[in-house]
């Protein structure tokens, strides 16, 4: 009987001391901030989780992964929980239709400069972004069973003279306020930009690739819209407008 007491005692001691090194705390440091334009306004970004922009990397033996991608939302805000430590902040290796202050390209296909950040406590960091083009006078309306989106495109006077030319405009309509090419609730269509620098995208409400086709029994009477422009030689990453809501989308043709 004494032996059993002894064993019970040892086992309970083991329970108390054993698991200390097996568990560790989750990431706790908040790394947040926004993309802003020269005038301090928010810079509207894609928001599609597949279109990463910022990433942070830790270096060391065995750290061969691609780092942590930080998702930037439609309004240019980001927030990421990280472990405390030293990180290198850089941009994902893609061409972009804008420049980020202090983070320069190392050449086509070769990636970008990195900034060392020592993350001990919460950090807020804003990035000044210079888009090559500005989207102005964005309007959305319902017209003859279509959702019609209009926008003007002008070259940003602050952008470098070598900025590539605009090739296409795109329109997006969604049933929710999250509007980007990465969600299933968004329908998108491409349009050619006229010489005068404006474009119009007409997205049908009924039929193939239409608003009502987003899902079966889509009886929403409001839609969220935005537009983007694509630049020559810069695939997948576009310049975006703000998101606006339109009402009274017809339910039947």
């Amino acid at each position: 009987m004494k032996q059993i007491n002894y064993i019970v005692f040892i086992v309970s001691v083991m329970f108390l001391i054993s698991c200390e090194y097996d568990n560790y705390d989750g990431p706790s440091v908040k790394f947040t901030g926004s993309l802003i334009t020269a005038s301090g306004d928010p810079f509207f970004y894609d928001g599609n989780p597949g279109r990463g922009l910022i990433k942070v990397i830790q270096k060391g033996f065995g750290k061969t992964d691609g780092g942590t991608n930080v998702r930037v939302d439609e309004r240019g805000n980001y927030a990421q929980l990280l472990f405390p430590g030293e990180y290198w902040l850089t941009l994902e290796n893609n061409p972009y239709p804008f420049e980020v202050e202090n983070i320069n390209s190392l050449g086509a296909g070769l990636g970008y400069d990195s900034i060392k950040i020592d993350l001990k406590s919460d950090l807020k960091m804003d990035f000044k972004v210079t888009p090559y083009y500005l989207l102005t006078d964005f309007t959305a309306k319902v017209e003859n069973n279509n959702i019609v989106l209009n926008c003007n495109v002008t070259k940003n006077p602050d952008a470098p003279a070598t900025a590539p030319k605009v090739t296409f405009g795109r329109g997006y309509v969604s049933t929710t306020s999250i509007v980007n090419g990465g969600t299933l609730l968004t329908r998108t269509k491409r349009a050619v930009i006229t010489d005068s620098g404006s474009f119009e995208v007409v997205i049908p409400i009924f039929g193939v690739n239409s608003f009502r086709e987003i899902y079966t029994n889509n009886f929403k009477e409001s839609a969220y819209c935005r537009v983007s422009v694509e630049l020559e030689g810069i695939p997948s990453y576009y310049l975006f407008s703000n998101i606006t809501k339109i009402e009274n989308v017809p339910l039947t043709p």
Partner: protein
Amino acid sequence: MKLNNIITIIFFSAIFLTLVSCDDWLTQKDLTGMNPSDTYSSDQGITSIVANLYSRLRYEQDFALDNESYDLTRWDEAVNNSQYWAFASNVGRDYRSYYDYGLIRDINLHLEELEKNAKSIPDDKLKYYKAEARYLRAFVYFTMVTRIGGVPLITETMGYVDDPLLLAKKRNKESEVYDFIVNEIDDIKNDLTVYSSTITQTRASKGSALALKSRAMLYAGSLAFNYDKSAAKGLNLPSGATGIEKSKANAYLEKCLEACQELDDMQYYALYQKDADLSLNYSKLFLNRTDNREIIFCKAYDGVNMFNYFTQRAIARSQTGVAKSGAQINPTLNLVNSYELLATREIKPMQAYVGEDAIELMTAKTSDKNYIIYDKPEDIFAGRDPRLAGTVLHAGSTFKNKPIDLQAGLAILEDDGTYTFKSAQSIEAISTANYEGIKMTGEDGPFRAGSSFWYISHSGFLLRKYVDTSTGSETKGNSSVPYIVFRYAEVLLNGAEAALLLNMNGVGSYNGKDTKTLSLDYINKVRKRAGGDEFKLNASELTFDRIINERKVELSFEDHRYYDLKRWRIADEIWEPNRDSETAVLYGLWPYKIYAPGKPVDGKWLYRKVKLEHRGSATDMGMPISFDRTMYYSTYPMNAGNLLVEMNPNH
């Protein structure tokens, strides 16, 4: 004798015994395996080692490996219609990342053993074995360089060292890997003339080495030719691990032509030309390798020991032999539209509508579109390149002497001139579902209704190419159709492209022959076999777009298109994930029989161009194909600690 003395004697004898007795009991002969000197003393031994090396060559779409044909249906040639179709969906930068230094080491080891232990093998055979191993090694390096760019060239085995980082190697330049391949082939090609009387198709031969050279040099040449395009897309690393300088283009392209010429000089290989029916001739070319001089190198199946499941997966629903299989590979309208008109050699899409082309939803039950009415279902495909009927089964085709029953449903003509479409409501009801006594949906589809709609055509087309016609081949992997790696027509098209690129690069003549004429000669050999003399191109028609289209059509389903679009640096444009894209969104063509009693159109046919839904993911059907700039070079493995490894561009 004193006790002490006895103990001393026993003690010393015991020590003596330990010194002499146990000489080699630890080094016993391994009875479970053969040692190198035994193995390398006979042809059988060497062949069994080489058989293992051949079996490890990587073919993503071979007939045993490509599970359910997911890979074959991943790009724009076909969509998958097994119940696991979503596995044939879009992929990312890791796709086809291939880094097989295990195989390279085994080949190097094989070469070293041949050197050391094959003393009893006659010289000429030994030469062949060594050349064969080097051919295999060149082939593996080619497979790697086409996927992940420049890789370290390792030509001998490495031994154990305390610090593994001493073995770390830098990536060779992409061009150096191609140079290695061509130098190896030039070195060994004459040793590969096989000692037996017939030229083998399943082992290394001079022909297969030259075919590899022509393909590798064309790839290298077109990468160099497209250097500027690569630069604009960020695909050239400054170290040269990816991207080949423009100045090297002509030398590579000339080497491609050199290989094509040398293959012709062998006077052995020829295009398969046995049937007067050109469609039948084209389809038979792929079915049998005996007495088929077009096949240069292939992986053979006998259907007994080496199973080939391709026919089982691809055969029409009405002829399937195994439950839950068949009709899994559905060619797309995107491919079918690429077959030229035979008489005018024009590339023209199928004409389903009067006026502008429309795109319809499979689920739409009514339509006010203005359709072109055809008397018979096959009429829409009339007058096309005979390879269309040799590659694809469409409404009105027959296979194994049985008609293929492709009919999406009945199109009921309403009084106001619009159509209402009726089709079976579930797959079980297809054989009985009728409207006013007329059967609605064909046994082979195209069909999409109810909760189960797999193993039946989805696009309105079925595959004929590579589908075995022999009895019983549709069951249990019992097909013996070979998987072709190199065939003569490809070499001809390689030559045509190389000559045209030289011409575009300002090189007017090669070996005293005008490069444009040379290109025409090569492409027209293939086209003449495909469609007769009238199908030959003339000089003004020969543009690079024709080369693109010819390769798409002639080499369809042979795993060329993915690599071709990559090396032309247009894959991200053709397969840009855009829902308006005509090339990245996949379409089908659904045949309907018209029901309009008493009216002239009754019993005639119309076609609807539909967006294919089995593409993408279960939650987003009809998604366009996606290929981005990170996918030109697949992920290069980042081995922990090796600081010499360089990431691929855009990664």
